[in-house]
Symmetry: D2
Subunit: 284 residues, 4 copies
């Protein structure tokens, strides 16, 4: 069982943060195996840090360490921070619709161990994916949803999703209400099938086709109440040409959607993403 842990920190930038945090860890014989940090300005900005720690030799319990960290380090820098032992896996659920490409990509990577989480459910507003999902040994729930029954659908989903701490929208075509999202800040990842901010909203491949762009893209982002406008995690594009019709764009785009979403979910599960206002800091 893994004895590694991730420590993630955000605070206003001030001299001495790195020395204080790493000195603290060293005293407790928590050995740093990776460290990334970022300051948003040379002076007076925000500071973000991610540390990977090997705790096999650590002489204190995790609870004790956390308490000491708050008292000796976090308080003086007014830090927001999170310590997560790698063996404490997150509980993840997937929301899908009819399209199978992105949900299957996640299921397949999860089965390979590339997505270190407990996958507790796939929820869809259509029954189409039931067999494919259950083949992976993952519970499948069909909860119809559209504008007129959204509240009821979300109530049922909240029951099923209770206790999950990551929700992945894998081409889920319904809008989630502000109330639903309010409980999950930066815990819902969506894939949008365009290079945002271009082509937000409906049918982005058709928009791309009609605009005549020479690259199409996909964007993974945290979901906020404003449609397709939450903090961007990752984007990628692929070249297209006049030869490609809308259906070709859909086929070509699927590959980017799968890749961009899977990477973003993996990064989230590895504690690599910190949110900085409406932007992200991604330590890779």
């Amino acid at each position: 069982m893994s004895t590694r842990a991730h420590l993630v920190i955000a605070c206003d930038d001030r001299p001495g943060i790195v020395a204080t945090v790493t000195g603290f860890l060293h005293r407790l014989t928590a050995n740093i195996t990776a460290l990334d940090e970022h300051a948003t300005a040379s002076d007076g900005g925000r500071f973000f840090m991610r540390i990977e720690v090997e705790t096999a030799l650590m002489t204190v319990e995790e609870a004790e360490l956390k308490e000491a960290f708050q008292r000796e380090v976090a308080d003086q820098f007014n830090m927001a921070w999170r310590w997560r032992a790698v063996r404490h896996r997150r509980k993840m659920a997937i929301l899908a619709s009819r399209a199978d490409a992105t949900p299957l990509e996640l299921l397949w990577r999860w089965r390979r161990g590339e997505l270190p989480a407990d996958l507790v459910a796939v929820v869809s507003n259509h029954p189409d994916l039931r067999e494919a999902v259950e083949d992976f040994g993952v519970p499948f729930h069909c909860i119809p949803n559209h504008r007129d029954i959204r509240q009821e659908a979300e109530t049922r989903m909240l029951e099923i999703l209770e206790g999950t701490d990551l929700l992945v929208l894998a081409r889920y075509m319904q809008i989630l209400s502000g109330e639903f999202l309010a409980h999950r800040p930066n815990q819902v990842i969506n894939i949008h099938h365009s290079f945002l901010p271009a082509f937000a909203g409906a049918d982005p491949y058709r928009q791309a086709f009609e605009t005549g762009v020479k690259r199409i893209g996909a964007t993974a982002h945290y979901v906020t109440p404003e449609l397709d406008a939450g903090p961007i995690i990752e984007q990628d594009v692929i070249a297209v040409s006049h030869r490609h019709g809308v259906d070709d764009l859909r086929q070509l785009g699927r590959d980017i959607e799968r890749r961009v979403l899977a990477k973003s979910v993996q990064w989230h599960l590895e504690d690599r993403i910190l949110v900085d206002g409406n932007k992200t800091v991604v330590f890779v």
Copy 2:
């Protein structure tokens, strides 16, 4: 001296176009060395074709060929078409401002023979690039321009640019009037420093920074009276991260601007770009 020629055709799609055109060329012993075609729909769309021809063995004069082509081929298909002997080089001018990256890229490639045109002038609204341009043996004209003197500036430019058939805006920061553009349909290429349609208008790198995108891009397009909305010729992007400030984006973006613009100008000069409404067909 080259005996090659390019034949470019656009018309409504109908059976028999390829056979008719290639049969005509074959009878006149104009040998086809490359052929690209594109139909926008399987039935009832538009048809575009580009043919490279070797005319060394051709038994008729160019004028005679053109007349015969109109009579025997173009009329029956109601074609828009252009025949250009490669030895008839286009006359190109560059409009620049203070920034040297894209104008110098074009000058270098032109000197190296990668841009097959006569480069007759570089015009700028600032004097900064005079020495750099004149080092290439190219005439440099400084014509101040801003909103209040636009008409006068454009009048002077039109004099200098008379006889040119390609105008390249290499980060020229002034808007050209509809009257100026009216005489040059699909003959003015601009580079916009974003992945259009995202971040049209002013200071796109700052817009990109504030949006937190993970790729920045550049777009070359034909200029139409509507700002940053003309037919897109080429686009490309590069990965960026939270580590990059606005100035970093400007530096990284310059590389893409240079590459995308130079490629687009080369394609235009090689008759590879056909305009299809507000989109382009690019045969590469």
Copy 3:
């Protein structure tokens, strides 16, 4: 049912080929919807052409057309050529080993209709993938194979594969004998997990790691008796860094392997690949 067909041609280059072929098709009211051609030299090289045809209005039977084409066109240019009605789907089989990434990618895309072929079998020298394959409704055959039993294994495979006209090696780790390959020129596609010609042979990700390359790649190629040296169909790469160990390269590389192999198989099935000596012409 599709009434489209593909005509693929290779011959020595001479004036008049395009006109002769397209004139022939036009006379038979076979309507050209796409045409690509390539000449390897401006004079005296080889000529390759691919034409997509709509035959709904064609007034002759396919057999008659083929006979007439041979007599009226192919003979005079000494052409190698193939006419394939799109409704005549190829029979494809997959050879796999233990790794599931590339076989599953092909199965998914096949089920989605992106690979227009009849998938008649997956053969593996290990039983691991049986369930995953059979979930797709595709027959799975486990035929153990290693150096000492190669002849026997290949005999059994040849029985199963009889009648197939495309064999895809999706990380099949065994070498196929020259006798086995002799019957299938340019009908066996392999994915090699490196950017060939770099790192041919065993364990290319380890070779890449030890060399310290900053990009890893994958290469799809037709299999010839010389290991990893057949005509290259497609390649791609991905950026890596000092942070990536051999296992990271394997994970990152899988994405490229899947994409490069799937694209190559699709192109083969769409008659887009012509072999030119030890190189390929790929019309996309």
Copy 4:
């Protein structure tokens, strides 16, 4: 004038390095603005670190700091390390031949301030670039060189290059002797016009053409006595097809050569590259 400095460290990995180094800097009020580290193994590997420091408030002289760092930190971890104040710019020289693309790219970026070094000379074995180089105000030296006069040529070059600490081979076509290189470990950067280790040696674009690869590349590496085999700094590739002849590959490849070389030189000048045996650690 900049008050920033870079501290670069390599040593065997052991617990406490980060805490010790950052604690030392904090005590001297040298404020860390960026930190990157890398360990080659989770246990028992090598450790590499790069720190950017703001020294405006530092209370000791640089000499004193260095002495204290050696005594209090470096000795206990047996570190190889380098402290460089950013205002102490390196002295760089370029070796070129006839081709102008990569030397001009470096000159142009250097003039823009993207390459923070004193550019003291361009040396070429041909006179062709004299005017272009001198336009940038940089001394140009023509020192003929070939196999038979190598020793004499290198003697003259060593005189001119005395005091330089970075030598960039921008398509310099001559081999440098082991003696010449011996004095400059990891201080000579070469651009090779292929994706190494593929196509080492002469005329890689022709090799690539004849192999039929679908991507061509360029590789920047530190020069060692073994030809084209030194530690790789950066690589990139571009898609090519059957349509591209050897000359097309040369033109397309130039863009990658320019970009890959310029990036690598910039990284070297910013102290971002550490050498780890025959590989590099690049902190970007």
